[in-house]
């Protein structure tokens, strides 16, 4: 499996939070040959079981990455132009000049635009354009727009993956499809390596609107351990270096109350044993990732977070090093392969000994 090919398909697929259909179909197709069972959760997450070789009942390790992306929605139609609202944390500073697809009665190509600078006062040209002055234009006559588009229709950002130098790629939904790719690479490896634990891979829905797919699918899966995968801030111009990670120097293992300290140590050992470079990512509280929801499912789940550094998050040019995705995939597969039957006892909190 080639990482950039996976990233290209995943990044370019449509799947706004709550409407993950197209990307879910793609992931189902990718995972089909690699897993034993698959089903769709009530909120749209895709849940796949890859059985381990240990004696039943086998412990379950959940791997979760979200497949939804941020997008736009039609709120009104004015003179044939579409007014828009954001779905998830779409950054209004990057909307102008985008090509989009409006999911009307049929899919309509369109562009995101505002008044040209030539006709504006100089001061206005220096201000971020507010959402009420931004429109989507599908280039059709007003009557046709009225017939084809309704309030509430979704608008996907359209952006091909750009292959930059040094196997770096830029695309619109690498948050968090990069990690769906990492899980896919891990599943591929696990189909060739023996592992005793059951692995449940989940492409979660509605992360961008509040970790909802992770919350509900973790309840359904009831895992013994969970590893969430998400993107984290990479070093980039204009951003304070503290709290960011270098691009292309491996995934990060997160530290903090959201993560089980013994699992963190174990993951570090696995990385060192396989000579996979990694960084530590201290997160003092809310991680803002699926790990936050999974940790408090049912009676509580020991949870980890592995992250892939990404520049320009929530912009249609999210940029990462393909190597970091491959390393995350190798790290996950190695962690699973090293998980023995007694792992849960080993990491359990001990008192009075």
């Amino acid at each position: 499996m080639e990482a950039i090919a996976l990233l290209k398909q995943l990044s370019e697929a449509e799947g706004i939070a709550g409407f993950e259909g197209p990307v879910r179909d793609l992931v189902r197709q990718m995972w089909e040959p690699l897993v034993d069972e698959m089903y769709e959760g009530n909120l749209g997450s895709l849940i796949a079981l890859k059985k381990g070789s240990g004696p039943e009942p086998r412990p379950k390790l959940m791997l979760a990455a979200h497949m939804d992306e941020v997008g736009l929605m039609v709120t009104d139609i004015e003179e044939g132009f579409l007014r828009i609202a954001r779905v998830g944390g779409t950054d209004r500073r990057v909307l102008l000049g985008l090509e989009v697809t409006v999911h009307g009665r049929r899919d309509l190509p369109g562009v995101v635009a505002t008044r040209p600078p030539h006709v504006l006062p100089k001061e206005e040209r220096k201000k971020t354009v507010p959402l009420d002055k931004i429109f989507v234009d599908v280039g059709l006559p007003e009557e046709e727009v009225e017939a084809l588009v309704s309030i509430g229709d979704l608008i996907s950002i359209r952006r091909e993956l750009s292959e930059l130098k040094n196997r770096r790629v830029a695309g619109k939904a690498l948050d968090d499809r990069a990690c769906v790719a990492a899980i896919t690479l891990a599943l591929d490896r696990l189909s060739r390596i023996e592992h005793v634990w059951d692995v449940v891979a989940v492409a979660t829905a509605q992360e961008e609107t509040g970790l909802k797919g992770a919350l509900t699918s973790a309840y359904g899966v009831a895992p013994d351990l969970a590893i969430a995968l998400d993107v984290t801030f990479a070093e980039q111009p204009g951003v304070n270096k503290t709290g960011t990670l270098p691009l292309g120097e491996g995934p990060s293992i997160a530290l903090g109350p959201n993560f089980h300290p013994k699992l963190v140590e174990r993951m570090k050992d696995v990385a060192e044993d396989r000579e996979i470079p990694y960084h530590l990512d201290p997160i003092p509280g809310r991680s803002g990732t699926d790990a936050w929801a999974i940790q408090v499912t049912r009676e509580g789940v020991p949870t980890l977070l592995v992250s892939v550094p990404v520049r320009y998050m929530h912009q249609p040019v999210e940029t990462l090093a393909a190597e970091d995705v491959e390393r995350a995939g190798r790290l996950l597969a190695a962690f699973v392969a090293d998980s023995e039957v007694g792992l849960l006892d080993e990491i359990a909190w001990k008192v009075g000994e």
């Binding site: 004015e78 132009f81 944390g89 950054d91 209004r92 500073r93 990057v94 909307l95 102008l96 000049g97 985008l98 090509e99 190509p109 369109g110 562009v111 635009a113 505002t114 008044r115 040209p116 600078p117 030539h118 006709v119 040209r125 220096k126 201000k127 971020t128 354009v129 002055k133 429109f135 234009d137 599908v138 280039g139 059709l140 006559p141 046709e144 952006r159 750009s162 292959e163 930059l164 130098k165 040094n166 196997r167 830029a170 801030f233 070093e235 980039q236 111009p237 204009g238 951003v239 304070n240 292309g248 520049r311 320009y312 998050m313 929530h314 912009q315 249609p316 040019v317 999210e318 940029t319």
Partner: protein, 341 residues
């Protein structure tokens, strides 16, 4: 439709080679003379039938706005400056084509999660932005995109149904209109069709071309602003998409010759060709320097209305385009020395 090829071609001011090659191939069979001057203007002559001794100049500019690499930082990022009127508001989030090999480069800004609320309101200035081509070091960045490398929007031409989007319709739309006119029959006079360079940095090419051609009258062909998007205070849309070719009466660069304007409007009225006046006082074109060549040249500007010019996704109506070609062809076939008396 040649507009597709022209729109996707790479031709920032001072670097119009690709566009010039495409246009040369497109018109060589339809003109009698072709030459390229010292600045890079493509000058062609389509001889007339000999009935009228006039020299009529038609001009459309080949260049587009873009960016130029002016530095490389120690992380391998490219620092860039604007070539022509770049709208800073729309750079974040874009993919650019950098250099002749069209290396993809992206423009990202500080993630929304890390931005203070007052920072959200400000547009990043160009000198605060950087272009990321994936280089890991300053040396690698210099090798990929040396100082002076040009960059342009990486968008493709797309059909929306009656309308089309793409970059550089200002002024590849005008170039495409001129190609269509050259592909038609001869006029009574000699037609000097000029594809100019460096309009976006100050009408540089048209100035010397007009001197060389020394025309009796001239028309600039443009892709001009259509600002017909909804807005709070009802102001002029400048031009309106679907309203037909836009005829300029006066803009920031010149006052159009009244006799030529009358020729255009009466032709349009006689033949029921939709047309509109561009809101006076906005914009400027090559006509701004052509009308000042030598002892002065009666000039006019006709433009295809285009939304979102100077953006990666300009949008125009093919019906307006066809009506512009038609209005120009019919008006030129009525143009005689008497028109100017």
């Amino acid at each position: 439709m040649i507009l597709r090829e022209l729109s996707e071609a790479y031709g920032v001011s001072g670097n119009e080679d690709d566009v010039r090659s495409i246009l040369h191939d497109a018109v060589r069979e339809h003109v009698d003379e072709v030459r390229v001057d010292a600045l890079g203007n493509l000058l062609t002559v389509k001889r007339g039938t000999g009935e009228d001794p006039m020299r009529v100049m038609l001009a459309a500019h080949m260049d587009e706005i873009g960016l130029m690499v002016v530095g490389h930082d120690d992380k391998g990022m490219l620092k860039v400056r604007a070539v022509g009127g770049i709208d800073d508001r729309l750079l974040p989030g874009l993919v650019l084509s950098v250099g002749p090999d069209r290396v993809p480069g992206v423009v990202g800004i500080k993630p929304i999660h890390l931005v203070e609320s007052d920072e959200m309101k400000k547009v990043s200035k160009l000198d605060e932005l950087a272009v990321d081509v994936g280089a890991k070091s300053q040396d690698e960045a210099k090798e990929i995109a040396p100082l002076g490398t040009y960059a342009t929007f990486a968008t493709q031409y797309r059909e929306l149904g009656g309308t089309v989007t793409g970059k550089a319709f200002d002024d590849r739309a005008g170039c495409a209109v001129l190609v269509e006119l050259l592909r038609g029959d001869r006029f009574a006079f000699d037609l000097h069709a000029v594809f100019t360079v460096q309009e976006e940095v100050g009408l540089r090419g048209a100035r010397v071309a007009a001197f060389a051609v020394d025309p009796d009258c001239a028309f600039a062909l443009e892709g001009t602003i259509a600002d017909d998007i909804p807005k709070e205070k009802e102001g002029s849309p400048t031009t309106r998409l679907g309203g037909g070719p836009a005829i300029t009466v006066m803009d920031r660069s010149f006052i159009a010759d009244r006799r030529l304007v009358r020729l255009l409007t009466s032709t349009a009225e006689d033949l029921d060709i939709p047309h509109q006046f561009k809101q006076p006082g906005v914009g400027g074109t090559d006509a701004g320097v052509i009308h000042l060549a030598r002892e002065g040249v009666p000039s006019a500007t006709v433009a295809v209305p285009s939304r979102y010019i100077h953006s990666p996704v300009a949008l125009l109506s093919l019906e307006d385009f066809n009506n512009t070609v038609r209005l120009m062809r019919e008006s030129l076939s009525r143009l005689t020395r008497e028109t100017l008396e």
